[in-house]
């Protein structure tokens, strides 16, 4: 049996940030926004439900969350239900499973939902930090108390040390993405900043400063992924999945990372996706990308390891503005994790939905990629960066 094409035909968000709302509230807000966005599909049409959620057991004291979401959204799932946990890539993993199910002919309509409740109140930030650090090996990494900023700071330090990358170049990434988010109504951080703001913000995990970092975010996003046949019934403009690659080294602990300045798995996953999509020159052929800027340094490394520039030239790519809306590839027009925040399970879903909205031209004009973008990419790393997921999308499935 030949694999079938699958396409995003719409979706929606809850508002992201410090929300006075529960995990269940957020799931319902994103579910409603999704069904409100897509004419012709209701919960009764959904055959498969795929929920990205990382730590509901600790952040919301709740497990078995996919069936809970089915109940909340009124979906009688007839084909496949799954909750995915792949740390910061969980939303993208949910989307990948939905794509595989449709490609394999198992179902025609899937809801992909990502939900994370992370803010538990100021008194409980240490609980959130503990849960986050334990995506690494708790016994040998988490025990050292390092949080995400201090872990990624070591990548920033090594990249500066090995390639001469500057903090100003990193700051350019934060400025670009936060300024995109200033025009995104669901983003957590909607304030414009400049390079000096970034460099002068508190060095929370040196060499990285506060504005080099994403946030702790409550949020949710949903999208409907359907077979090509169904997509053509519903709409003229869809975002077809053209490639999906994933790579994980035999390693998760910091103790077994081969590099602190690069991510070989990002290259492997990207090459897999490019190969499936028939992409030879990603810089020339990709119009828009949503990539995992959990920290400013992450996006710099991804420019390199997604194969857009030579190793060590990521900082220059940022400095030259090649990732701006009118650059070679418009990178993170949504605002990225730096601007939107990072509700772990929701991020990948939100990124893919942004690519669809860029294709349809439904985003705010200040962050619309010019000249009708037709090809896009999403990328997420997870954990220690030992895992990378890359998906390519296009308006035309061929």
């Amino acid at each position: 049996m030949m694999p079938r094409n699958a396409a995003i035909v719409g979706g929606g968000h809850a508002d992201w940030g410090h929300r006075e709302a529960t995990w269940k509230d957020l799931a319902q807000e994103a579910g409603k926004a999704t069904f409100d966005d897509v004419d012709g599909l209701t919960p009764d049409d959904v055959e498969g439900l795929f929920v990205g959620a990382v730590q509901p057991e600790r952040f919301a004291f709740q497990s078995h969350v996919a069936p809970l979401a089915a109940e909340l959204l009124g979906i009688d799932v007839t084909k496949m239900i799954s909750r995915t946990e792949l740390a910061c890539a969980s939303g993208q993993a949910a989307l990948r499973y939905a794509w595989l199910a449709i490609a394999a002919g198992q179902l025609d309509v899937a809801l992909v939902l990502g939900v994370e409740k992370m803010n538990l109140g100021d008194d409980h930030v240490p609980e959130t930090q503990a849960s986050m650090t334990n995506v690494l090996d708790r016994e040998f990494d988490g025990v050292n108390g390092l949080n995400a900023p201090s872990f990624f700071s070591m990548f920033a330090q090594r990249h500066m040390h090995e390639y001469g990358t500057t903090h100003e170049q990193l700051a350019r990434v934060s400025v670009k993405n936060k300024n995109h988010a200033a025009n995104n109504p669901y983003a957590q951080f909607q304030t414009e900043v400049d390079v000096d703001d970034v460099l002068e913000s508190y060095p929370v995990a040196p060499p990285l400063c506060l504005l080099d970092c994403s946030g702790i975010t409550d949020g949710a996003a949903g999208l409907l992924l359907v077979s090509e046949e169904k997509a053509r019934e519903l709409t003229d403009t869809a975002a077809y999945v053209t490639g999906s690659g994933q790579s994980c080294m035999a390693g998760n602990s910091i103790n077994n990372l081969p590099s602190f300045s690069g991510w070989p798995q990002a290259t492997q996953a990207a090459e897999e996706a490019y190969d499936q999509a028939g992409i030879d020159d990603p810089v020339d052929e990709l119009d828009v990308a949503e990539i995992h800027d959990c920290f400013s340094i992450s996006e710099i490394i991804e420019y390199e390891d997604l194969g857009w520039v030579e190793k060590g030239e990521g900082g220059q790519f940022a400095e030259d503005g090649r990732g701006e809306l009118d650059g070679d590839i418009a990178v993170n027009p949504r605002g990225g994790l730096l601007g939107c925040g990072h509700p772990l399970g929701a991020t990948g879903v939100s990124q893919a939905l942004e690519i669809y909205k860029q294709f349809t031209g439904e985003v705010e004009s200040a962050r619309q990629v010019p000249d009708s973008p037709e090809t896009g990419l999403i990328h997420n790393l997870s954990g220690s960066g030992s895992v990378h997921s890359v998906m390519t999308l296009a308006r035309d499935p061929q």
Binding site: E127, Q129, A130, E139, F140, R158, V204, A205, F260
Partner: protein
Amino acid sequence: MTDADNTTARSDGGSDTPRTTVTIPDSIELPRLLDFYDLQDAEHTRISEFYDRLRDGSLSTTECRDCGDLQFPPRVMCPECTSDDLAYVSLPHHGTLFALSAVRGSGPLGMTDDTPFVTSVVDLDGVDVKLSARIDGADYDDLSIGDPVTLEVVDIDGPTDQHRVFYRFRPRGDTA
């Protein structure tokens, strides 16, 4: 809506509604967990020898007797050849800082009083092992990539009767 539903709706509210109180204890004793450190004896982990040796002041790990692969952290199965015939071997106590940062915001549960503290990757001398480790006895601003460091054994105080240990590093020559 049924007649019964209507009856319920009409009787809702007011002082006649029965009520009771459920009392939740001020604190709930949980199983010992969430302090990051495993129970380290042979009843709880198959790498207890690593902790026994560390308690005696020696850093060690496992090496495969079949293929020679050196692992860190210690294992019960060789990830190179799937053998379970592993031997404990000593690791050097000296190394250099490969990368470092500091935790200046909130530390995780149980470590909030420790901040700010230095986190690092230590490249052990003479072997292909880079460890994730905290650095004691120095501030971030006083340290650089390449600085020499030496092992420090940390005794873990409470909340179990077990004598638990872990490792950190400190600048070499610093004996404070």
